[in-house]
Symmetry: C2
């Protein structure tokens, strides 16, 4: 598949709002993605014929549906159904005012999303059958919703007769996308919920949403139960490669994790699990493969191939989630083995494809995903940063848990630590590591090459901190915190020369990634208008330290923004809007994946990027 | 839904074959239904662009797909894709000769069906992935089959990676309709099977077919395990209405019956159950509702409504059939509560919608379904014949099993019986009952009114048989067979006056049905060119006796034909051809259902039809 970078410029009147979209996107989608409301009940399937707009300038061929929706005179004046007009070139379009104001919610990185969940409920009051009107139950119901063209699930077929007869032919139809999944007695149209999951290698987060209002009702997180089979994706893939029974076990652990969170958020929100009709899951490729029972082995060995980029129609039950038995599951598609659905979700939340600014999106972790948006389109790559940020290869390293030093400040006179849970420090987590090295570089205790200066030089630079620069065995260290009496180096929390090297390698890998993307796109560093730090680690990282170390391009620090859990935000957006969801799939076609592992210039750039900026 | 009776006349050159089809049918379907082969690999989905034909006369608008498949010059000359041309008026079309001869099989009532099963296997040899070609496994496979546009089942996603890597990227893709359901290592393309079921209230029959050749490999039948919950549909519905746990139990019994037959036919044919990728089920509305776990109660009480006429996409596992885990199930759609999928299948097998002759289709049973095809389109009704033909309300009645008198011949001198299994007679089954009454009417022993003549009159008519006309208790009887010594009437097999009355009522109900259909269509009895007797009972019935009694219209006996198990044949056709299957759904739209129970003229006609023709 060749990604297309062709764009069309659209102007929506009367607001005059300008929008740039990939060629082929419909006017309806383009408007919806940009928060411009166009009337519709079918959500762009061409059945309700309500999304009438007038094309003022540009070419919009008449479709067969248009001829059914409009008189010849109207067609001549440019009236079209917005869901049928594909932007093939620039267009200026007039959007009639709405009679009712659509609901919208703010999610993602300040994205305003018009609510149009795939889940819809319709309360209908039907006439009872007679010998003169022997329409089948299903026909009777579908006739009352003839703006939709629906497929029917067997579950709904089993439910429809009893529901009709239990509630005097007054029932609520539950539709997910274009499938009638359930029929409930009486009016339950206010009760529809969805759950968004950020399925991380380490931590899994679930958010339950009221799909009628867009409101998050409860959030819960827990450690992924697969932890017992390895801390990172490579060790989990290894476990599966070595033991033929392991895939089934890890799949079960993923299901248990998701389902435990499901029960917890439903309970907290006061929602019955059967009122949850759709879930959305954002996770990296290994996590989604395993959760669906698909062998992840090819993700772990060259040439690193996915089983599939986009997933077919799935059920929540395929992921072990016990909600409505026919609830659907949206699993975010992946760009490549190391740029997974979590990144697709993150790009969606960040609106990386909807923005004319040149931006960098960096999700820092063991595997670091980097995306550049520019006039050259979207370029994406994965850089192997190694486990330094997880604290795994660091002498006094630990996860970002209670007792971890998460931030460090130094002046020549003093050193201040910020510890998670305001406890006695137990170790150094990723953000603390980055801070510590950045501060020591600023102080001059670490040279551009990454080496600690001599103790003599340290005494000249900052006499009150110099005593902390000492040795453990053969290795030079800088002590951050004395656990016992000062001087008991063995039982202190310190940063070692090797730790600095680990961080250097990690940051060089990342910096090589964005350097090559910038080169490929022909973009200069100073043209980057925003750097989004994503992922659970990125969100805790100090933008100033990231700039100081060269982890991100050397830019004014205000251009570097922590974006938070963008994967989870993307999953919420998918639940709230079928348009946004379609945008995630469209992203696959727009992105060019840059594989670093076979680039001849990789090593050169890597060596260039090892040292710290001075 | 208003059935359309509009037809278009098509002429296919060079054969000059004339075909009459409902307006809206595509040229591809029209040709395929009538055994005229047009090239295609995608089966009419508009993706392979091979079904090129030239429209010589009539109107066939150019579609967007045509513009991609042909040059302007070709379009001007009338070239079109046959799968995109909907017959809106009369057309004359030239079909290019095929380069390879399509396979065909004869099924149904002498129907020649071009093999185009929904199940397809494709053996593909793929290139291995490299760092330069990191396409996902699924993409790689689908790229090799780009004449198809497929959805993918999760099962296939789980299978694809292991299959590719186990067999050096040489695999067989299994496609059912437009879904990739499995990927198998190596070349298994010759092994694809389907099972057709006739799901009767009493008896269930399964036939396994080789879908590559159209050959039936094994047939097995057994009693429906639901028998223990009642002999007929009404008693089964009553069981379910009285006991909230009964639906689950009866559904399980249906599943057990279908699955036991499945194992038996697979075993006999030497086929692994996992090599069966599709099943087709023809059954009456009550049987299909229960088998799918849908409450049949509304079928049993006025106003007699179905839950649905046509069924959605189903899996064999929804019917408890253990074949390939993602095998599909086609369940025949029903016209009404008492004209079920068995009749739809029968009409398909009989080609009732493809024939310009005026024909009657009569499926005789407790509930008798009658269909009239004529210039007025297809009219269908259900007549409540009661249990006489099942032997249930007949003094010496029994099922058509070993020991049942199934045929009777009489001359004034002699009486001959034909007994199932060449055993000592134990009772009288439906066809024997009809024969016995017909022969006695011919002999003059039964009057047109249905009354036995006096013993004196009998002696005049046939002295050698007159002694058989005697009494049991108060009731007059005709003895067919003495079990002990002649004269021991109590222990003989006889036909009673009340039995004759039962048969009269049954035949009057049926005859009223076809009388009203003929009247509604404006067709005279003598214009009926063929009467098809369908169903397991109809097949055993003597056409001569049926005419003699007025069970069918008074026509030359050669026009009355036993059609055999047409429901099972229809199910086979659905497996062998997606075109025929689509025809079954199209039938729903073509048929006008005539409800007898609220007709004011029903009783008049019924009384007219009580007496026997003289």
């Amino acid at each position: 598949m060749t990604p297309s970078n062709e764009r069309a410029d659209l102007v929506f009147e009367p607001s005059g709002r300008q929008v740039r979209v990939p060629v082929g996107v419909t006017l309806f989608d383009a408007a919806s993605w940009n928060g411009i409301a166009i009337d519709s009940t079918c959500g762009g399937h061409g059945t309700c014929k309500k999304c009438k707009v007038r094309v003022l300038e540009g070419d919009a061929p008449v479709t067969s549906l248009d001829t059914r929706a409009f008189h010849t005179e109207d067609l001549r004046e440019g009236w079209r159904l917005a869901c049928r007009v594909e932007a093939r070139g620039d267009l200026r379009v007039d959007v009639p005012p709405l009679t009712t104001r659509p609901k919208a919610a703010t999610v993602g990185v300040g994205r305003k999303v018009i609510l149009r969940p795939a889940v819809q409920k319709r309360f209908v009051e039907l006439s009872e059958p007679t010998l003169k009107d022997q329409r089948a139950d299903l026909e009777r119901l579908l006739d009352a919703m003839d703006d939709l063209e629906l497929r029917t699930d067997l579950f709904a077929l089993r439910a429809i007769g009893p529901a009709l007869r239990a509630a005097d032919y007054k029932v609520t139809a539950v539709v997910v996308d274009d499938v009638l999944v359930a029929v409930e007695p009486g009016d339950t149209s206010e009760r529809l919920f969805g759950i968004a999951y950020d399925l991380g290698t380490t931590t899994v987060v679930a958010t339950i949403l009221d799909l009628a209002t867009g409101t998050p009702l409860a959030v819960q997180s827990m450690l992924n139960r697969q932890q017992q089979s390895g801390a990172d994706v490579i060790s989990r893939i290894s476990t599966i490669m070595l033991d033929p029974t392991a895939l089934g076990r890890l799949t079960t652990h993923a299901h248990e994790t998701l389902d435990e969170l499901t029960a917890a958020v439903c309970e907290e929100a006061g929602v019955e699990p059967r009122e949850v009709y759709e879930i959305a899951v954002a996770g990296n490729a290994t996590m989604t493969h395993i959760a669906l029972g698909i062998d992840p082995e090819p993700l772990g060995v060259a040439p690193f191939v996915l089983t599939t980029r986009a997933f077919p129609e799935l059920l929540a039950s395929d992921l072990g989630v016990k909600v409505h038995p026919r609830a659907r599951a949206v699993v975010f598609p992946a760009f490549g083995a190391y740029v997974g659905g979590d990144i697709t979700a993150g790009l969606l939340a960040a609106g990386m494809d909807r923005d004319q600014r040149t931006r960098l999106f960096i999700d820092i972790g063991t595997n670091c995903e980097i995306v550049l948006s520019s006039d050259a389109g979207l370029l994406v790559t994965a850089a192997p940063a190694g486990p330094a940020f997880e604290g795994a290869s660091i002498r006094c390293g630990m996860r970002a848990a209670k007792g971890a030093i998460e931030a460090v400040k130094m002046t020549p006179e003093d050193l201040a630590l910020q510890v998670i849970g305001e406890a006695e420090p137990k170790g150094l987590c990723g953000s603390g590591l980055v801070d510590a090295v950045a501060e020591l570089v600023s102080l001059g205790f670490i040279e551009a090459s990454g080496r600690f200066v001599t103790e003599e030089a340290a005494r000249d630079l900052a006499p009150e901190l110099a005593y902390r620069l000492t040795t453990v065995g053969e290795e030079r260290v800088f002590v951050l915190h004395w656990l016992r009496e000062p001087g008991d180096v063995e039982r202190s929390i310190y940063l070692s020369q090797r730790d600095v090297r680990e961080l250097q390698f990690a940051k060089a890998a990342i910096a090589t990634g964005w350097t090559l993307l910038l080169e490929d796109a022909g973009v200069a560093v100073e043209d980057v208008k925003q750097v989004l730090l994503a992922g659970s680690f990125g969100s805790y990282l100090s933008p100033a330290s990231a700039v100081r170390l060269g982890l991100v391009p050397e830019l004014p620090v205000l251009r570097v923004v922590s974006a938070g859990n963008v994967a989870g935000e993307g999953a919420k957006m998918a639940l709230l809007s079928v348009r946004e969801r379609a945008g995630a799939v469209a992203l696959l076609e727009e992105v060019n994946y840059v594989e670093l592992s076979d680039r001849p210039d990789f090593n050169d750039r890597f060596v260039d990027r090892l040292s710290f900026p001075v």
